[in-house]
């Protein structure tokens, strides 16, 4: 395994994708919305709107709290209604949104580097390079996964700062991240980044243009989210245990998809599609 070649491919793909506005524009906008605008809205809201409305909103929360596992319920003990609202919104409700990012980032970069390379007819010269199929594959996967994880982490950091700053006086100190966010960042996020790219590689062998791949991957993101949201808003709360289990499931799916995409990613079949 020649790591110098693998890094060269990853770096080249990143340089290229940087020039593709359609690819990186969402990578700026989405984190901005999730990490800055949404938490501000949800934290400032209960502090400025009439008490009656907050009360009504919090009625729902009361009902939810009764169904929570005891470990999670402890977080809400001895909190005022406004504080509960903020913890519930910023700590739980918005959490699944953050799962979009690793998925989206890695599938967008993957669409550009796997399909875009063929679309722009640069694939053939690359196939003539003295690298193995595996090195080519790894280089491209890293180009998608590393920035996806990095950008997600950066978004988490910004989010943590915004949430703590906006709710500092209300909560009387730093309270975020909650315990469940740690496995989300370090276990579930990488798993989703890998899910995004491995699904994209499979999609990319069946489509002709970057845009097609982009759209298909986007629908995949929506699908995964619908599944996750459905689970969460119904019965599950993202506690530490839940996140670890979901993460493990995603890694298992990853293993399968990676196996399939590696066996799909062969020079001989790529050259036939040039």
């Amino acid at each position: 395994m020649n790591w110098r070649s693998i890094w060269a491919i990853a770096r080249k793909d990143l340089k290229e994708v940087r020039q593709n506005k359609a690819a990186w524009a969402p990578a700026i906008v989405v984190p901005l919305v999730f990490a800055v605008i949404m938490p501000l809205v949800f934290i400032i809201l209960p502090q400025v709107i009439p008490v009656d409305d907050v009360q009504r909103e919090l009625g729902d929360i009361d009902a939810l709290l009764r169904n929570m596992p005891p470990a999670l319920k402890a977080i809400f003990d001895d909190k005022s209604l406004e504080q509960m609202f903020v913890i519930y919104m910023a700590g739980f409700m918005l959490a699944p949104m953050f799962l979009i990012m690793p998925l989206m980032f890695s599938s967008v970069v993957g669409s550009d580097s796997f399909v875009g390379e063929r679309e722009r007819k640069t694939m053939e010269a690359l196939l003539y390079a003295p690298t193995s199929d595996m090195e080519l594959f790894l280089g491209k996967v890293l180009a998608a996964v590393l920035p996806a994880i990095g950008l997600s982490w950066l978004t988490y950091v910004v989010y943590a700062i915004v949430v703590n700053a906006a709710s500092f006086s209300l909560m009387g100190g730093l309270w975020f991240p909650l315990a469940s966010w740690w496995p989300m960042m370090f276990w579930l996020t990488p798993a989703l980044a890998v899910l995004g790219i491995s699904a994209t590689v499979l999609i990319s062998s069946r489509v002709k243009t970057f845009m097609e791949a982009y759209q298909l991957s986007a629908s995949l993101v929506v699908l995964v989210l619908a599944l996750v949201f459905g689970q969460i808003s119904g019965v599950l709360f993202l506690g530490v245990g839940t996140v670890l289990v979901i993460g493990t499931l995603v890694w298992a799916v990853d293993a399968l998809l990676i196996y399939l995409s590696v066996s799909n990613f062969k020079r001989s079949s790529l050259v036939a599609k040039l």
Binding site: N2, S5, K15, T122, E124, A125, A129, R267, S268, V271
Partner: protein, 313 residues
Amino acid sequence: MTEKIIQVENLQRTFGANRAVDGMTFQVEPGEVFGLLGPNGAGKTTTVRLLNGILPPSAGTMRVFDLDPAAQGELVRRQTGVLTETPSHYERLSARENLEFFGTLTGIAPADLPRRVDEMLSFFELAHRADDKVETFSKGMKQRLALARALIHQPPLLFLDEPTSGLDPEAAQQVNDLIANLGRRNGQTVILATHNLLDAQRLCDRVAILNKGRILALGSLKELARKLWPVTWVDVTLFNGASAESASASIQALRGVRQVSAEKESLAIQVEAEEIIPQVVSALAANQFPILKVKPRDYTLEDIYFALQAGEA
């Protein structure tokens, strides 16, 4: 062990029912410029892909540097450079970035890479545009960059697939001059896939003429011409007013002369071999016939090519 760079035997590659390469056998010597000639769909590009191990063959054997490209593709590709049919680059990157990328993949040491890249850029007259995005380049510049990319690791074996297609005559001439120099100066072996017969005639030591995946003929221009037309013709033109008719009588009986036809001051003489031509000339001179011009008929690759392709049809 063998000194042949390429050895191919009964090589085949099918795509469904389509036989893209249909039983080719040939060998390439070190330092040769070897042409693969044929019309569209003859199997030139497929052959290049097979020999570089990026496409597995359906049957037959091939050795490149005594390696099997199908099983040891990486090792083969380390020693080959390929100018692909469509010279596509990473258009959003600069010429320098493109070369650095491929230089790294071909294993040039990091310490040598900047120097190699600069050498290539200035050799191909791209130094002044080195840091511009390739999307701003003309077709000729892109072609030169593609050549630079194929040559950056100084491969002993070079594949050029249609190197002058789509270039204006001046750019094509430049590229051809370069190719002519490669073999002679650096001892590189060159496989030139083309349907430009003039280029092939000028550059190739030997050619394989292909059609529908099969080799119709193989050899140097001379060998092929001799095989197709075993006799030699020479045209002699006499000076103003001299009668070719009477001149023909004086040479008809010479040994090695097979046939003479005369018209006004021109003679068309068929001889057994080129050696006969000087004897014909001295016989004419001895008989005081004023000779203006003596021109042995050369066959061009074009004549050979069309004769073969016509025989095929």
